[in-house]
């Protein structure tokens, strides 16, 4: 399956084609399930003016936060952007544009983008600042707002296992936004913990079918934890 072998051997190849002012959809929730190496490669490339669609924006020195530090990000579309002092500074000074989006709406916007659905109605955000400028329509007597989907020039995701043709399996809550992000990129790049031969993954257990994935790279992950909480003895 030559035409389906999506494995690349360098981060340069993985992110080839990224340039200024592009939109990047990123998987991950906090620091959990983020494509650490792909983010570092974006830092290396130094592309500026990026729009990044991701539930969070990392922390000051890890995850997407490193792109803030370098002022590579023009706009963030996120549901929660705490834990990040540089973010706060850029936002308050007006350097950074922020589109706060409810978490479920953000997940659905990515899914819809990948699924060819340009917009959908949701009750989430009705009557709140999120509804400003959006069309309101009643269904069965309740108000809903129209939310448009998102797609990216690139989608960057983190998976546990991939086979060489791009079928992906996630592990535990490191799945989070990754499956939707994977569907929403013109070019989708997956950074994974393990690459296996085609046929090793059970077809019934695949979370992201390979059709969505363009490039796969074997990563090495630090997997930093934001809040280690332990059972009391």
């Amino acid at each position: 399956m030559r035409g389906f072998n999506k494995v690349v051997s360098s981060y340069q190849e993985a992110m080839a084609g990224l340039s200024d002012n592009m939109t990047i959809i990123a998987g991950g929730f906090g620091l959990c399930g983020i494509p650490e190496g792909l983010i570092k490669e974006i830092e290396n490339i130094g592309a500026k003016g990026l729009t990044v669609v991701s539930n969070n924006c990392g922390i000051d020195n890890f995850g997407l936060g490193i792109l803030l530090k370098d002022k590579q990000i023009k706009k963030m579309v996120s549901s929660y952007v705490g834990e990040n002092a540089e973010f706060e500074r850029q936002y308050l000074s007006g350097e950074l544009e922020v589109e706060l989006t409810p978490q479920g709406t953000l997940a659905e916007k990515m899914r819809a983008g990948g699924a060819g659905i340009p917009a959908f109605y949701t009750a989430t955000g009705v009557g709140t600042p999120v509804a400003e400028g959006k069309e309101v329509k009643q269904f069965n007597g309740r108000d809903y707002i129209l939310e448009e989907s998102v797609t990216g020039d690139f989608a960057i995701v983190k998976a546990w296992k991939a086979d060489k043709i791009g079928n992906l399996i996630y592990r535990d809550t490191a799945m989070n936004f990754n499956p939707m992000a994977a569907t929403a990129g013109k070019v989708t790049v997956a950074e994974v913990e393990e690459i296996v031969e085609v046929g090793e993954l059970d077809p019934n257990h695949i979370h992201t079918p390979g059709i969505y994935v363009n490039r796969i790279i074997q990563g090495s992950f630090e997997k930093r934890i934001e809040k280690i909480t332990l059972a009391k003895n």
Partner: protein, 220 residues
């Protein structure tokens, strides 16, 4: 005596029913998990994609891939399922979660809630709160009845940007348990030793007392 954080959580836990799927927000709501009555089972939903939150891990069990919506390390309960954020919010938005407990800055007599943003201070974002309040049939808000300056948080109209409209049905504060219906707060219970007068004084919105004038004390 007003209730402390754990006592508020204990009172909320009395609202749980056997077989409930429950989403607990950050702060006091998280404490509710410690007071689930022994004779019932509930399953806790974490909006990052876990149904069936288990106990915090031992040091050996800590796993960066297993966190809750507050980004704390957790374990999966027996019978848990794990899924994407889209699936998680399909559950939430679709009304499949039986009970949502969350904190708030303000609630008003029409059931509006403000919980995510204080203009002028940093805006950290709403996370999943707007989806949770829009999707749940059954929402309990936990908060202190008044802020540290004594200003009521139970208002005629919320002043802060809203998280959701017409959605809060019950509030458990350090002073009282109240229902919201027909455009008013209805006092159901008071904290032990707290007078109805104090609750009236600290409730800026319209407060309705029981017809018989009797307000039982919260039992926790």
């Amino acid at each position: 005596m007003s209730l402390n954080r754990d006592q508020i959580a204990m009172r909320v836990a009395q609202e749980l029913q056997d077989g409930y799927y429950v989403n607990l927000g950050i702060g006091i709501p998280t404490l509710v998990a410690n007071y689930v009555p022994n004779d019932i089972d509930v399953m806790l939903q974490s909006e990052n994609g876990l149904l069936g939150i288990g106990p915090y891990p031992t040091e050996d069990q800590v796993d960066a891939d297993m966190i809750n919506a507050g980004k704390e390390t957790v374990t999966a309960a027996v019978g848990a399922s794990i899924f994407s954020s889209a699936e998680s919010f399909a559950m939430i938005r679709g009304g499949h979660v039986d009970l949502t407990v969350l904190g708030a800055f303000e609630v008003d007599q029409n059931g509006n809630i403000a919980s995510y943003m204080i203009p002028g201070k940093l805006v950290k974002g709403m996370g999943g709160a707007m989806d949770l309040v829009a999707g749940a049939e059954n929402i309990i808000v936990t908060m202190t009845h008044a802020d540290k300056h004594g200003n009521s948080k139970l208002l005629n109209h919320c002043n802060l940007p809203l998280t959701g409209v017409n959605c809060v049905k019950r509030i458990v504060t350090d002073l009282a348990v109240l229902d919201i219906k027909e455009g008013a707060f209805h006092l159901l219970e008071r904290a032990p030793g707290v007078s109805v007068e104090e609750i009236q004084q600290k409730t800026a919105g319209q407060l309705i007392l029981p017809q018989n004038g009797q307000v039982p004390e919260i039992s926790v």
